[in-house]
Amino acid sequence: MQFSPRDDQAFHGQFTFKNSDYAIQRFPFPFPEDEYRYSVNIEPHVLPGKPGSITEHMLDIDEHYLSEIAERERVLAKDPRRCLVMPHMQPAAWDFLEFVMTHYARDYPEAFSFERDGDDCVWRNHLLELEQSFRMGDDASLPLPPLDYIGRQMQGDIALLDQRDGDLFMDAGMITCPADWSLAFDAGMSFKQWHGPVPLAHEMGVFDRALKYLCAIQVGGPVRRLNWTMTIHPRMDSSPETYAEWGSDRTTITAENAGRDVHLRVELQTLVRMPRSHALFFGIRTYLISLEDLCTNPVWQTRLLKVLKTLPAELIDYKGLTRYLPSVLEWLEAREASVAAKANAEATAQAAV
């Protein structure tokens, strides 16, 4: 894998973020049908997945690794409350550190190594040029608390859920690239509490079924799902805490700039049981793509248009698309029309020959 150089402007300021052709090709397009419907769309995270795909490994990293790490540092420096570990979650944080180091080193040996002799460990992150000796479970042996330490070297957001009384609780995490939600606000909430704002799904019983399913996840049986929304500019940190910086971007979209500025934002969510603490790791790996890049794939273009045209009003509102969706549709319709016109012209030319 090629890692792009660290780019401090990728996800804010100049928004220099750009996907390579390879990143576009492996982008997790989230719509299996022409109409988007709520479902408990969870499936086993069977490993290894298709080579090169985002589900080949337990934890996916890609060309944006260094830029996302830089973005995470920037967000944490401004707002340390993006990382939180309640006291009873300290063992889960160690569990998680061991999990990340083990999988990163196993799946990306060119980038990471993890040597272990009993509790004596050596971790090397070649991409960030870090080398750290420490004792597993000993807070004093690391420069930062365990979740803080490994979270700053990991691509994707992290929530560690405590399980008790047949429910899950948002009791630890590091969230620096949320799609409009806040760890500090959701801290300590139960599964249904933090899903409170989601429309329609409660009435459908989606959360009752999902919660039972998630509580039954066991060690060695990770699951995954895709979730999606849209974001103006490739902005990773669209959190309520920084709403003042990005909320008004939604008013800037026109049928002319939608292809460049509007991004489809897809989350690969993985749920993995931590072996010692029984905490549930909820990983959110976010992938961004501009509509222009997305529409280099004509099948995706056609389907995205159909999905957006049939999206229920409640969902348009919940996902924050209300203001600019008409411009997006206009842009997509124009693309579709030009594709159709081109096909017609070719057919006419063929017939003339």
Binding site: A216, Q218, P275, R276, S277, H278
Partner: protein, 314 residues
Amino acid sequence: MSRFMKARVAAVDQLSSSVRRLTLVPADEASPFTPFSPGSHVVLGIPGEGRVCRNAYSLISPPDDPSQYCIAVRRQPVSRGGSEAIHSRVKVGDELELSPPANLFLPHWQARHHLMLAGGIGITPFLSYLPELERRGASWELHLRSQDLDVARFPEAAPYLASGNITQHRLERPNLKALLARQPAGTHVYLCGPQAMIDAVKDAARELHWSLARIHHEVFAAPEPGTPFMAVARGSGVEVAVGAQESLLEALERSGVEVTSLCRGGVCGQCRVEMLEGEAEHRDAFLDEQERASQRCVMPCVSRARSQRLVLDL
């Protein structure tokens, strides 16, 4: 459970006239055991007459030591094959199928004090609690009521005997109400033992106006025998007679129908199957009232048929 591993029996110890302790080690170096969380169990496949009997057993060894897993098995007066085989046939060197650890009985880590009450072989899940409770510096006490099982016979309990936190009751029944009444606020209670014991503790808790959210229990829900019936797995085209002493799940497995399962005791929900015809006698603790009443799904690990035939979407 699909991912079974191979384990080798490294030691067999007789802890009482009716309880045996097995020490299991990985049979294949390529698939080592993992650490586990306190209260975890494994499903052990025990070859019996004509079929593999699969039973769930709590792990009693320290959770952070993946070099070996230990379990303790009581010889059941009416055995469905598993416990009998462990007591009469399983010997050092045998290889058995083993599921990865799963947990349906975790300590409540926000508790101010942990009170564990065990009846007989119900001591087993708590033996893996103790090392982690100590490591976290938690406040705890453990009571075992058993006439023939001595807690001191468990090597796993040895480091904690001197703490004074373990009380063994013999013939006398502990005064549950007095025991609960002297607990500090924020105590969580964990129960493992016969249903009568669980009921008695819950009654005492209610009398003291405790929230039942502070009482947690693991029932050793071995499938109860019942009337024989026919089961049809429509998708697989399999029809199987379910005997009085076996579970629907076991009968399906015996005839080669794959069913995902985990706790085999009606609580985890993994083996839930859609039901196309027939009426189930629900014995699980997983489905909600609506699901039971709908007669559209069933948990084959513990539930049986009220009708003569159950047709399943398998």
